[in-house]
Symmetry: C2
Subunit: 196 residues, 2 copies
């Protein structure tokens, strides 16, 4: 769909979420599909690549995820703040948010989940790991990443590269109330001295 997208090795998948971006969650089941925003997600394991994400039990997304046993994660770029906020403000139960917002989605290669590439930095397809207690008590859904891809202009060979020329693709991080910060301004830590 987007010629800049390249597969990401599963061994590198956790790096896509390591720095805490706000993401879109996609889902599909029985001819219906949805997309919502989620600020609360994190990797939990490198190998196999596993993640945790909070999806409120009252959402239409949660219903589709429970039924299908799968969810997609999309990392919107800085150009997509309006869309990200908008899909987080309405439910997809009554209307298809892809159609409403004119979002072009393709089917992911392994699970067929909706993936979005235009204006986005990366996506992941995840198989839900059933954890009824965590889902119930904390709305926390665990998943195993089974496919991932990224725009090579910002993530290639397992590494992010945030530069002036890819600002529109840089990940966004929701502060609350529609205010986001963009990840940028790379800082390199000094190599720590070995313990004496």
């Amino acid at each position: 769909m987007n010629p800049h997208f390249r597969p990401v090795a599963l061994a590198h998948a956790s790096r896509l979420l390591n720095h805490g971006p706000t993401v879109l969650v996609t889902s599909a089941h029985g001819g219906r599909r949805n997309v919502m925003a989620a600020a609360w997600s994190m990797p939990v394991e490198f190998t196999p690549p596993r993640i945790a994400i909070v999806i409120d039990k009252h959402t239409f997304t949660r219903e589709l995820v429970a039924a299908s046993g799968a969810f997609g994660i999309v990392l919107p770029g800085a150009s997509q703040v309006d869309l990200t906020f908008a899909v987080g403000q309405s439910s997809g139960r009554e209307q298809d948010k892809f159609a409403r917002h004119g979002i072009a989605a393709a089917a992911g290669p392994v699970l067929g989940l909706p993936v979005i590439e235009d204006g986005c930095a990366a996506w992941l397809e995840c198989r839900l790991i059933r954890e009824p207690h965590a889902e119930d008590a904390y709305d926390t859904c665990f998943g195993e990443v089974v496919a991932a891809a990224a725009d090579a202009r910002i993530f290639a060979d397992g590494r992010w590269s945030f530069r002036d020329d890819n600002a529109a693709l840089q990940t966004i991080h929701h502060l609350g109330g529609g205010e986001f910060v963009r990840a940028g301004g790379t800082l390199r830590a000094a190599q720590p001295a070995r313990a004496a």
Copy 2:
């Protein structure tokens, strides 16, 4: 300790972690204490304020957290990237990392956990919610925030404010291998139109 720090209302505590910063985890038990870095954390609930954080079961921190039933979270500012990376590269089992790195820590007001204010944006004290399965299967520890405070120059009245004049306090987000991005460049989303 730092005159700029002010208590954060518990109702606003989740906002401190909403945008996915890399944090320091502090712990103490039986006269010993520790500090490590963690990129993998997220809020899971607003009220009561609860969070999840991944702490490897082989770490000294995990041992102290299990014994004490509590952990602290500190948000290092951009000036603390070297320290953040350094405390993530060595174990506190053999030596006190606070002493080694010259870190000034005070005792948190509710649980007495080590909290760090100099060069940091905020801290939270959390009571561990025992979840043996999640801890064992995913190294995921759930906790309830019982106290929080932030440097008012960057977080006040429940809101972040990332500006040119507080760049040194802006949160950092670990990409991997000692490379971080700084949260900055605030973007405001348009108010979405109401559904037709």
